[in-house]
Symmetry: D2
Subunit: 342 residues, 4 copies
């Protein structure tokens, strides 16, 4: 019998991608779709690529509308999930695609988001040590941020194998959909096409503490992350170039072995053959992660690079993957590792 | 029991898209994959987005390699399909994604392709009148060209309803994948990004006689087509802007009614609500066709605009749709009308 | 002695492009820069590419601020130019980059713009017959729309030579800067990259009557224009594909001869050698127009295709060219036919 | 009297950009243009954006053709400049846009280029300490690589002020024109649009020793550089994100002060106001460098980010700037700091 799923925030990019995946999920029936300023509008005018749902009309995000579902996905602006989640029963699976329940440290939350901490839910990055056990059977899931997904998967094997010093440097390029549908001048097509530009430089990006949380757990010590996000002229994709000084004794062989071991059985993480590098186009629309790793002896650094689709594995695909685990379904149900390319 | 499919020409864009779709097709098992200069290489290096097939190695395109399959797809350069097809038995379904068997008029073929005509196979555009009957049970299918798919679906209802004069004007923009993986200077990223340019102007494009063939059949009279293709800075998609002088008595209402009637029951053709226009992004990676139509009283013309993904509905999706019909499977098996957007 | 120029509306794309050109103009000194909601802001934050003006601060658009200049450029939203122009003396050259004074027919204006007609000024497309004489010494100039510039230059030689029937069909692709800096969802980078989409289909675009005005004047009879604009995934550029049924007696030779004659002495219009087609990238940032023409005997049509930069020749470059003529400067002062490519 | 300039290698991207700049240079007359496989072709078909030179025909690169010029620019593949330069007299200014004469250490050259070292010429990055003196009056100039230009200008002030530790980490995104016009599959538009991908990871990129040379000179000690170049979906531009651990005592104030001091009088380097970040679109087609710097206390790093146009300041603009110095012309003659945007 199909799981009945509601989506709060169906008019945005994360909500739209989630619906695209749920339409292809054999065990899910799509229930209520809600919006805020768009309530009352046809989905066909807001998400014209979702033809099978074109006739659906968005409802308001109220407890009544969300009631009667097995799963409720929250694709809401940061800080709005807690209030909605509170009104949902303990027996419904709530998958939060926002930031509200990702951080364990309340002080981190307050420093970066400026509001009281709502709590911490099981973290929806199944590839991290211990994550699957926490997700299995859980009724609450916090889906990771798109950058922390890309960066944590790129670097945790090096930290778990004690091959990297504790000061990571990350420069990541994201497609513009990562910024959502917000009407801001710098997101206009005329501005982004043909241009690369950084933002949130110097430690200010809100995803930084989440990366530190994940990498420190892997390393068993406090890891710092110098994180520079950049906006690239493409709709989708994250390419995360991550590095850290190599610990004494690290080598090309030991580094590669650590990644081979970490990802040998992972269905969605693909360590590329030596000599081949990740490309965001290769994971376009897929839940796959492409990773490659190198040891630069001259510079004394381990370099790990990952490519994901920020909307799929980085948001909605990660949400579905975690839902599958929480519900006891095969983890890859409804998810693909085939990108849409070229 | 799964249908076993071979793909001759698996290293190109059409072959890659076909494999992406076949991987998602529940009734198909992917058999031999062949290439020409790429024989012996891993598919993972040639089509890095097809992770489930990354370890497959391309074989040579020989009768032995292609033997033992239920379906053989030919994604070969124009003019090479006939020789391969001849060596395949009459009991195997051969789906030709090249041009060789599309045209009924040998003189047209020879004028535009400069070689002897190989013959005519049932035409894989099921939405055209009579096409499904010809495809059902057939062992040979000629998949239409990408432009003729977009243009024929945009205009045939107007011709079938006798609303349009016989001189059609078509200007279409295509993504660069329509030109294939050929190493030509004008296809370099540096050249195509930020640029629109026409080619094959003035009646020279090889898809012109195919459009004329389809539209003339619908109109019951010879239709001329002034066709100008343009290359757009995007990887995928065709936007076809098609028009013809309106016949006396045509009106906004009669035009819309003709399209509503033509596409009321079509699973892949979506006539948009009035006021909404097709966008290639909305059909990215999907087998859907978005169509809108208008009547311009001041200019006295019927204007019909369609958007397709040139690699999906325009090539590989059309091939799978036709294969489904030929094999007696539900027509939409393994195909989606959900685009990957934004 | 330098001409002192003020720019009203310096924060938008047209105003920014004008300033880029004026910075390179040896006979112009840049005076007051005004804005509306942006008054008080540094130009460096609004137009970060104009480094020599980064420290300038926008003022309000008032008669006092605009006083004391030899030339005032108006880069204002449609309908706002008349009120500002009224307050400027008859001895100052006013160059309006908006639509207010382009149309000769008040009924056309009211039908397409919905407000009372403000009047008609000398039309700033010097390449049209008689235009230079009207511009020389004039104190008022109406700069043409970007689409009418591309379309009129593509088609008027065919009409002037009586080679084309009176029903033109135009499909044009524009870069997103043509839509300005307006914060609209469909102009977000995530929406426009990878997508082609039409708008204003069926005769509704406001540039239509301007094209009809220009082509009818050339033909000596009323010409209708079926105009379909499309939005392309690029920041700049217009590619206009224009055609009309050939008049009896037209031929490839007579068509080419008409264009060679029309543009033999034009400094900015470049009729390409046979076999080479216009590309918007080739005129990026330049005031050049690339044109090619073909005669399609099978379809019985004359096809003329032009490429311009919508912000340069299509707006600000055309404005500077007209200013030069009005002031008696060499027409090409400060303007280039060299594009920025690739 | 105008300086007469020849360009060897006029059909490539570097040669084309150089010609674009020379066309706007008031003191230069363009002489011979040569090519290799393209000799005999019209420049109009190879560089269709250079309309004023459209009728020029490429000659072969021979001593006779290059004789009789005041300046000869070499835009040749790496390793070919030395042989051509040898045949030119000592009294002609030779500006090499290739790599041949950039490195001081013959072992570095041989390790990265695999051929005997040809020598070292004065280095055409005038903003580096001592560079202008070496260039003034010189008859030989080695134009820097595009990446070393962006990276050296971003980081040398931090090293010169002893604010950064000696292990730099650089991740840079380049437009595809940086790879030239080579016909390689990964440079096809279909492959690069919508995709970010790294290359030359782990220390292998040939520009690495050049960066090390420049930064070590500034620091007064050996600096290592971990350099990861990435290919971005745009034609032009480099965004270089550079960082190093902060030395004890470094602070936001001391870092900013170092950059303000270093670039106070530089005509082409623009240190942005605090809070504004470089964008490659802002320097499109210009010789400007936009730089911003930050101190990340939590991560203990100095982060400096620069944006240049790889073809202008990164290649041809740097060449013209150095030529001006070598010839005793004002350094900014014919060069602009105005970008073409949006």
């Amino acid at each position: 019998m199909a799981v009945r799923a509601a989506v709060a925030g169906a008019s945005g990019y994360a909500g739209g991608e989630l619906l695209r995946l749920l339409l292809a999920h054999p065990g899910v029936e799509i229930g209520a779709l809600t919006g805020h300023s768009n309530a009352g509008q046809r989905l066909g005018s807001l998400q014209p690529h979702l033809l099978p749902l074109a006739g659906r009309v968005l409802e308001h995000t109220t407890p009544d509308v969300l009631a009667g579902h097995d799963v409720v996905f929250l694709a809401l602006p940061h800080g709005q999930s807690a209030a909605v989640a509170e009104q949902l029963g303990d027996d419904v699976l709530v998958v939060d695609m926002g930031a509200d329940f990702r951080l364990r440290d309340a002080a981190d939350w307050e420093a970066f988001y400026g509001s009281p901490h709502a709590g911490t839910w099981p973290y929806g990055l199944p590839e991290l040590p211990g994550a699957r056990a926490a997700l299995a059977g859980s009724k609450r899931v916090a889906v990771p941020g798109c950058y922390p997904t890309a960066v944590s998967l790129a670097l945790f094997p090096a930290y778990a194998a004690q091959l990297a010093e504790s000061d990571a440097v990350v420069v990541a390029a994201t497609g513009t959909s990562g910024a959502g549908k917000a009407l801001k001048p710098h997101l206009l097509g005329s501005e982004v096409m043909g241009s690369m530009t950084p933002y949130g430089v110097g430690g200010g990006h809100r995803h930084t503490p989440e990366m530190i949380q994940n990498l420190s757990a892997a390393a068993g010590e406090r890891v710092t992350v110098s994180f520079t996000p950049t906006l690239a002229p493409m709709s989708r994709g994250i390419l995360a170039t991550c590095s850290a000084r190599a610990k004494p004794g690290a080598s090309a062989e030991s580094v590669r072995a650590a990644y081979e071991k970490a990802y040998a059985d992972e269905p969605f993480v693909h360590l590329l053959p030596e000599g081949q590098w990740p490309a965001t186009a290769s994971v376009y629309g897929s839940n796959a992660v492409q990773i490659q790793v190198a040891y630069d002896g001259a510079a004394g650094r381990v370099i790990a690079i990952s490519a994901i689709d920020n909307l799929t594995k980085g948001t909605a695909g990660g949400a579905v993957q975690s839902m599958n685990i929480a519900l006891g379904l095969p983890e890859d149900t409804g998810l693909s590792t085939t990108g849409v390319a070229p």
